[in-house]
């Protein structure tokens, strides 16, 4: 998954905008408090098990054990590395409609320091924007210097939540990071692109989505596993975040799921005997597919 980068690089920079909260990283580090990194993580049904739809037939059933989305483990690892290098703490932020915490424990066992979990029956059915509103509200309370996310979740694949969080918080948004450096005057991010990578400088706080595969997530150690349960884990409801149930869940969703249907079975394909003209049929087929 790791993409080779060419020498093509582009430098750009995201303008500092009017920030609702700002914790100067330099100030923090002068006070030896280190950098506070929030990582948004999601718990999903184990992709190793066959997925099932809920009774309504429109959402993935989540009544079995959920695990940490593998695509989030890269952000967690990157946050741990940054916090280890610069000093600081890693806080997980997760929306967990069912109150499940198993996947979050995995990230705590990897070494994250604390977790903020938003759990509320009214969250069921939230679309990407609803999710972003909830996470943004929780992040506003957490006041991190840096927010890391995955580029997209493995079960939903919308890929829009990171930019939505940034917009809701009026923070710079940098997507598809392959590396992140925290410097004295902000962030230096290499962002994956088809032609190589962009080098992006931006002030903190910022929202950065981390490409899967760019770091090697550590395995939780046995000590980490034993410590996970006793790490501070804050459970919040919508009311605790000051959000109305009507803003989220099925009622708040601006996206309507009309239908979910299984992928059609693959057809049998075409078998043709080569009577010496096989190549003609192949060329014709490639032309039909418009690849020639």
């Amino acid at each position: 998954m790791r993409q080779r980068h060419t020498h093509a690089q582009r430098r750009s920079s995201v303008a500092r905008r009017d920030l609702p909260f700002r914790v100067a990283i330099r100030g923090r580090r002068q006070h030896n408090q280190g950098v506070k990194i929030a990582v948004c993580v999601k718990q999903i049904p184990d992709p190793a098990n066959p997925g099932r739809l809920d009774a309504d037939g429109k959402t993935l059933a989540r009544d079995e054990k959920l695990i940490l989305d593998e695509s989030d483990s890269y952000g967690v690892e990157m946050a741990l590395q940054l916090a280890e290098a610069a000093g600081g703490e890693v806080v997980l932020v997760s929306m967990s409609p069912t109150g499940e915490v198993g996947g979050i424990r995995t990230a705590l066992a990897m070494g994250a320091d604390a977790a903020v979990i938003i759990s509320d029956d009214a969250l069921a059915g939230s679309d990407a924007l609803g999710t972003a509103k909830v996470l943004a509200a929780a992040l506003r309370r957490t006041q991190p210097d840096l927010i890391l996310t995955a580029t997209e979740s493995t079960d939903g694949y919308t890929g829009t939540v990171p930019a939505q969080i940034a917009e809701l918080l009026s923070l710079p948004s940098v997507t598809f990071a392959k590396s992140v450096e925290v410097g004295s005057d902000g962030l230096l991010v290499r962002r994956q692109a088809e032609y190589g990578y962009d080098e992006v400088a931006c002030p903190l706080p910022a929202v950065v989505s981390v490409t899967a595969g760019v770091v090697e997530p550590r395995y939780p150690s046995f000590r980490g596993i034993m410590a996970a349960k006793s790490k501070p884990t804050e459970m919040l409801t919508l009311a605790g975040l000051g959000l109305e149930p009507s803003e989220v869940g099925w009622t708040g969703a601006r996206q309507r799921i009309i239908d979910v249907s299984p992928v059609p079975e693959r057809g049998g394909g075409e078998i043709c005997e080569d009577d010496g003209t096989g190549h003609e049929r192949i060329v014709a087929l490639l032309e039909e597919l418009k690849v020639l």
Binding site: G102, T106, A109, I225
Partner: protein, 404 residues
């Protein structure tokens, strides 16, 4: 799989309860959240880091011991059942589950963990001086230093008290002479725990690699436990300072107590090897077609699968029960013998049966079964042979020793 959630879900939805082929008795519900996370972590490590390479290691007769040591150290599995010095003071169940998952990959990898934690770190921890513990335990827990356990000799196997390796006083020093054979990790170890006859009975000595007169060479042409280093150690006038001896124990109790620790892990580990064989056979039999359909529809195949499944589940219950006894401080060496004997026998039977289900494919390294089957021939021999454990149990029942 979260069996509790599954059960309650099934109850809510009124579905008929249908046991999972992978956890037929719902034994997972006996494990804590931490134990389940430890298990899934080690299982993932094995799937990602061991299984892609182990067939090649096996074929080449090698194990990247340093790499495995630092991996297992980072996972926190080396000496995890001990306390202090960077060790995690784990429950016996957690320790056992780690052994199980490693051995589901390969008995050689589990052997590495057993030797390091139970056979090398344990005696230093239990019988060592403060200096010895300080010097070795923390770096053995991280895998920076590797240990081995040298008891067996060319002419002294099941009857280790007959050992000929000697430790003689020379002034305040010790002089060690003898040959040790079949020593796991021997040539890669930074420190060997060598058991030798002294004037006050069998004593343990810490012999650092590179000590003059001490040499290790690997045993070639093994057909079992090939992804594991097995060595011969030779000790010719090896001069050691007075403080090289483990001060805390004299007599056969020393090495035997280490073996009890390691055997306990094997009772779990064997279940892992058996599970892999069973699951491979279960999947294969559903995909392999003969006489117009999958071979899993034949009664004879089903009987094999059922016997394997029952063996794995029963072995798991036995191992978990022993762990409970151990955590309560109420386990006896004979009860550990029960676990080692019965679960290794079960695993070997499962491996042979699974091998037959896979037909010709079963004899290759493309499938894990024959590798496990060959490994288990070592597992049934080391740490007390099947026969020796039978005699231990026989003696416990009759109060009569049948050893001599």
């Amino acid at each position: 799989m979260n069996t509790e959630a599954q059960l309650s879900h099934a109850a809510r939805s009124g579905a008929t309860l249908s046991p999972s082929p992978h956890d037929f008795l719902g034994i997972d519900s006996l494990l804590s959240e931490e134990e389940l996370l430890l298990r899934s972590t080690v299982r993932r490590y094995v799937e990602e880091r061991i299984l892609p390479h182990v067939a090649d290691w096996y074929e080449q007769g090698t194990l990247p011991a340093r790499e495995i040591a630092s991996d297992l150290g980072r996972l926190g599995l080396l000496g995890m059942q001990l306390s202090g010095f960077g060790c995690a003071d784990s429950s016996a169940t957690a320790y056992g589950l780690a052994c199980l998952e490693l051995e589901a990959g390969d008995s050689g990898v589990r052997s590495f963990m057993s030797v390091q934690g139970a056979l090398a770190m344990f005696p230093i921890w239990a019988y060592g001086s403060d200096e010895q513990r300080e010097r070795w335990l923390a770096q053995m827990a991280t895998g920076e230093a590797i240990g081995c356990f040298a008891l067996t000799e060319p002419d002294s196997g099941s009857d280790p008290a007959s050992m000929r390796t000697t430790a003689r006083r020379d002034g305040s020093d010790w002089l060690l002479n003898g040959t040790k054979l079949w020593i796991t990790n021997g040539s890669v170890a930074d420190v060997a725990v060598v058991w030798a006859q002294s004037e006050d009975g069998v004593r343990g000595f810490l012999v650092p690699a590179g000590t003059p007169g001490f040499a290790a060479s690997d045993i070639p042409r093994k057909l079992s436990l090939r992804a594991s280093v097995t060595s011969e150690l030779s000790l010719v006038n090896v001069r050691l300072p007075a403080d090289a001896a483990l001060p805390g124990v004299a007599g056969m109790r020393g090495p035997l107590s280490c073996l009890t620790e390691a055997r306990f892990g094997i009772a779990f580990g064997a279940v892992g090897a058996a599970r892999t064989c069973y699951e491979t056979a279960l999947q294969y039999s559903g995909e392999r077609n003969q006489f117009g359909g999958p071979i899993s529809r034949f009664q004879l195949t089903q009987q094999k699968l059922v016997e394997m499944m029952i063996g794995v589940q029963r072995g798991m219950l036995l191992a978990l029960h022993l762990a409970k006894l151990k955590d309560a401080g109420r386990i006896s060496p004979a009860q550990v013998s029960f676990g080692k004997l019965d679960n290794v026998r079960m695993a070997l039977e499962a491996a042979r049966s699974a091998r037959s289900v896979l037909g010709a494919n079963g004899i290759t390294l493309d499938y894990p079964i024959m590798r496990h089957m060959n490994n288990l021939e070592t597992v049934i021999t080391y740490e007390g042979t099947h026969e020796i454990h039978t005699l231990v149990l026989g003696q416990a029942l009759t109060k009569q020793s049948a050893f001599g």
